[in-house]
């Protein structure tokens, strides 16, 4: 596999950078030279890597890649913006964006490169979607997956293969840059990767079809499959999860939930519609305040709600009878990968013997294991932390970039160990989270 060598090198480069986490101006000449060399090496490595064989590899490569490359995944279809000035500037900024030495393996938050002509070969719909992803206007793993798959269906429908290739053989090649583009604007959620893995399998099945399908049949079949996936694994799954979850709601419950999950919201609203009497405590956190959106909907449905910040969690915990959480992915070791802060809520609740219920569609079960929250994660924009929740107050860190020793870290996810999870509600029933690998194998 071609990318092994170079990506190994870059990983080492990452370690070096980790060792000397000084700002550029503090470095000695030798160090600076070393850094320079290392960057050159990396670049060569990336060039050598060429087009990644699959989105999976692309994403892996993305994860391995040294952080201070502002460039999009190394796909040959895309012209590489190598203007030296732009690069330098970006590097300088990113030094401040991600200096946390033990997180140098993570990508810094990215800005979509919509203006340049690099994207001229891409379908316009994906550019629009990328922008919404990048600006965090579209969040939540279900919403992102559905949007991505819908756009892919659209791209597939609109795709006209060149005269010398059949649709089946060309569509994969055509989709790759689109996938790479999505990766370049914001790292994909684990469930999105799982969706792409599924889509590739579908495509390869079409290719292997004997006798070969006509373009039209192949296209329709693929589009149909995608629509079916969205319906069955996401939309219908949510309905079933709500149905299953309702078994566990009783009159008089005080339900605590954290941030916002579309399926938890659906469950709570449905419980209210069914006439259950219960109270909800919405726990929220800076800087995203996603819980506020949930709060608004629950309140307008007439549910009695309390609202606290995560730091006051323990003060409200005494009255809570159940904790219901959403998930971004369920890992094969039974851990839940979810919005940062989820681990803390689950830990606090399980310490108090309060049942912790996670609602998760089976398409989010991924073949990946992780015991901490740092190996794989995503970095948000550090400047988000500087926004004060009270507009009048000036933030104590508004000048944080001037302080050489100061870093701001805005992680987006964390991993909740399985010991804190009582129950996972899926569309196939109520399961213990340790059965995650069983479900994953069933649905592979």
């Amino acid at each position: 596999m071609i990318i092994v060598g170079p990506s190994h090198d870059t990983a080492q480069g990452g370690h070096q950078a980790a060792g000397g986490r000084k700002s550029l101006k503090d470095m000695t000449k030798a160090e600076r030279r070393a850094l320079q060399e290392q960057k050159v090496k990396e670049k060569q490595g990336r060039m050598a890597a060429g087009l990644p064989g699959s989105a999976k590899k692309a994403s892996e490569q993305e994860a391995h890649k040294k952080v201070n490359s502002p460039k999009i995944g190394s796909t040959s279809n895309l012209a590489q913006p190598t203007a030296p000035d732009a690069g330098k500037q970006a590097k300088k900024q990113q030094n401040k964006l991600n200096e946390v030495p033990w997180l140098s393996h993570l990508d810094p938050p990215k800005k979509p490169n919509t203006a340049s002509n690099t994207n001229r070969d891409l379908h316009p719909a994906i550019l629009a979607l990328g922008l919404r992803f990048a600006e965090h206007k579209m969040v939540g793993s279900n919403a992102r997956c559905v949007a991505m798959l819908t756009i892919f269906a659209k791209i597939i429908r609109d795709h006209k293969p060149p005269s010398d290739a059949s649709f089946s053989r060309h569509i994969q090649k055509y989709l790759d840059p689109h996938i790479a583009y999505l990766l370049s604007v914001r790292p994909m959620s684990l469930s999105m990767r799982e969706c792409i893995r599924w889509l590739k399998k579908e495509i390869s099945e079409i290719v292997e079809e004997d006798p070969p399908l006509t373009d039209e049949v192949a296209r329709n079949r693929l589009v149909e499959r995608i629509e079916h996936f969205i319906k069955e694994r996401i939309t219908m799954a949510d309905t079933l999860i709500v149905e299953n979850g309702m078994q566990k709601i009783q009159n008089g419950d005080v339900i605590l939930t954290y941030a916002k999950s579309s399926v938890v919201e659906a469950l709570l609203l449905e419980a209210k519609r069914s006439g259950y009497e219960f109270r909800v405590i919405v726990v929220d956190s800076r800087p995203m305040f996603e819980g506020k959106h949930l709060l608004r909907r629950l309140v307008s449905a007439g549910i009695e709600c309390s609202y606290v910040l995560l730091s006051s969690l323990y003060v409200v915990l005494n009255t809570v009878t159940k904790v219901i959480l959403g998930a971004h992915a369920l890992l094969n070791n039974g851990a839940v990968y979810s919005r940062i802060g989820t681990a803390m809520v689950a830990m606090a609740a399980s310490d108090k013997q309060i049942p912790v219920i996670v609602c998760c569609e089976t398409y989010k079960f991924v073949n990946r294991t992780q015991v901490d929250s740092l190996v794989l994660n995503e970095m948000g924009n550090a400047d988000e932390l500087v926004k004060s929740s009270i507009p009048s107050n000036t933030n104590p860190l508004s000048n944080w970039r001037d302080l050489p020793n100061l870093r701001l870290l805005n992680l987006l996810y964390d991993v909740t160990p399985s010991k804190h999870i009582t129950l996972v509600v899926t569309e196939v029933g109520l399961i213990p989270c340790t059965s995650a690998p069983v479900i994953w194998r069933e649905y592979k």
């Binding site: 309140v299 609202y307 910040l309 409200v316 830990m347 932390l385």
Partner: protein, 398 residues
């Protein structure tokens, strides 16, 4: 017994600031309390110590009632009372007050001080007995105390050789300057050196290349880390402490003194804890069971640390130790304006939602590994003893 007019207005002013939470933070509150009490001792007319104890207890009760969450007020009142009792005992038993008085506190946990504390107790039970038995003195009544306060131990009865009658109301003219001197040296001067006392132990607890997590803004913790940073290089991760963002201010001031500092959101505490090898917390108050009242979010940090078996140190001055127990965990908490949680701009929403913004957290003693205080360090299981050394059991309930 009334205070002088000037003093009374000063007290009123202090009380109203306490009530409005215009004066917040144990240090400021403790200092002001100490200064007011010193003035009471010096300006009030008192013929014997029992009157003084009565006046101070009365005033103490008023101050505590003004802001029951600022436990430092009550702590300082109890310290002053203890000093008075010590001086009285010293006066009556020997003339060598200075020795008995100072040796005890400069050296909180040596064997000597335990003996001292012991003899204190004897003294107290004698006092208690005295106040019960003697009705011949025309002095004002010592405030009635619930029975449990009449100092305890059957053990003391076993120890007492003879029930000598020490007259609590004995007149003494040099007591006043002594008490004032003691308050100056033991309490006010002590307050000024607490930060240094704690910071000086930093190198005993922080090794090179550590990753330390803290939350909130605590001058004690800041001085502690700054002192360590002078000799050793290490990193600090600060949870931003929403909604006050005190943690961000803390981070800024740590970064300014050259410590490598990373700010994280409160939600990332659990995620990042796997990188942390020590947690250092500040405290608002430490309770008698070794639990502490601290800035909201502290319990989360301590609990996450417990799950990662990361040691938790608490830097606290001795005046924050309170002889009270967490009878009810919410007892010492205070809810402040919810504006910072859900802005008042969200008018329609805020009407329908119960928004809570507690200021403090209660951290259970089993989540704490060590208290570093201005005279040394102790595990939570020893806190009760520090409290016995610092306060008179009779004053637990003011």
């Amino acid at each position: 017994m009334v205070l002088s007019k000037a003093l009374e207005s000063q007290v009123e002013d202090f009380i109203s600031r306490l009530k409005r939470r215009q004066i917040v933070g144990s240090y400021e509150v403790a200092k002001e309390t100490a200064i007011i009490l010193r003035q009471v001792v010096s300006t009030t007319r008192w013929s014997d110590a029992s009157v003084l104890v009565h006046v101070i207890t009365d005033l103490g009760r008023r101050l505590v009632a003004a802001q029951p969450k600022e436990l430092a007020v009550g702590n300082i009142v109890r310290r002053v009372l203890k000093i008075i009792r010590e001086v009285v005992r010293g006066e009556l038993e020997t003339d060598d007050i200075m020795n008995s008085g100072t040796s005890e506190d400069s050296d909180g946990f040596s064997q000597d001080s335990e003996d001292d504390a012991d003899s204190d107790r004897e003294f107290k039970s004698i006092l208690a007995q005295d106040t019960e038995d003697t009705d011949h003195t025309p002095r004002p009544e010592i405030p009635q105390r619930p029975k449990l306060q009449t100092e305890s131990s059957m053990f003391n009865l076993l120890v007492d050789k003879n029930s000598e009658d020490i007259d609590y109301s004995a007149k003494s003219y040099n007591m006043k300057p002594l008490i004032i001197q003691e308050i100056n040296e033991e309490i006010i001067a002590d307050l000024e050196t607490v930060y240094k006392g704690i910071a000086d132990q930093a190198l005993e607890h922080i090794h090179a290349n550590e990753v330390i997590m803290t939350i909130g803004y605590s001058r004690t913790v800041k001085d502690f880390l700054t002192k360590a940073a002078a000799k050793r290089s290490f990193q600090v991760i600060v949870a931003e402490t929403s909604p006050t963002l005190q943690g961000q201010a803390m981070a800024a001031s740590l970064a300014e003194v050259g410590i490598e500092t990373t700010v994280i959101t409160d939600s990332a505490i659990h995620a990042v804890m796997s990188r942390v090898n020590k947690v250092v917390l500040g405290a608002h108050a430490v309770l008698a069971n070794g639990g502490l009242v601290a800035v909201t979010g502290s319990q989360m940090v301590a609990a996450a640390a417990k799950h990662h078996t990361t040691p938790v140190l608490v830097c606290t001055a001795l005046y924050k130790l309170s002889p009270l127990f967490p009878y009810d965990v919410d007892l010492f908490n205070v809810c402040v304006t919810p504006e910072h949680v859900l802005s008042f701009n969200e008018g329609t929403l805020i009407d329908k939602v119960n928004v809570l913004n507690p200021y403090y957290d209660f951290v259970a003693p089993e989540l704490v590994n060590l208290f570093v205080h201005n005279l040394g360090s102790a595990p939570p299981s020893y806190v009760y003893r520090l409290i016995n050394d610092n306060y008179d059991l009779e004053d637990t309930t003011l």
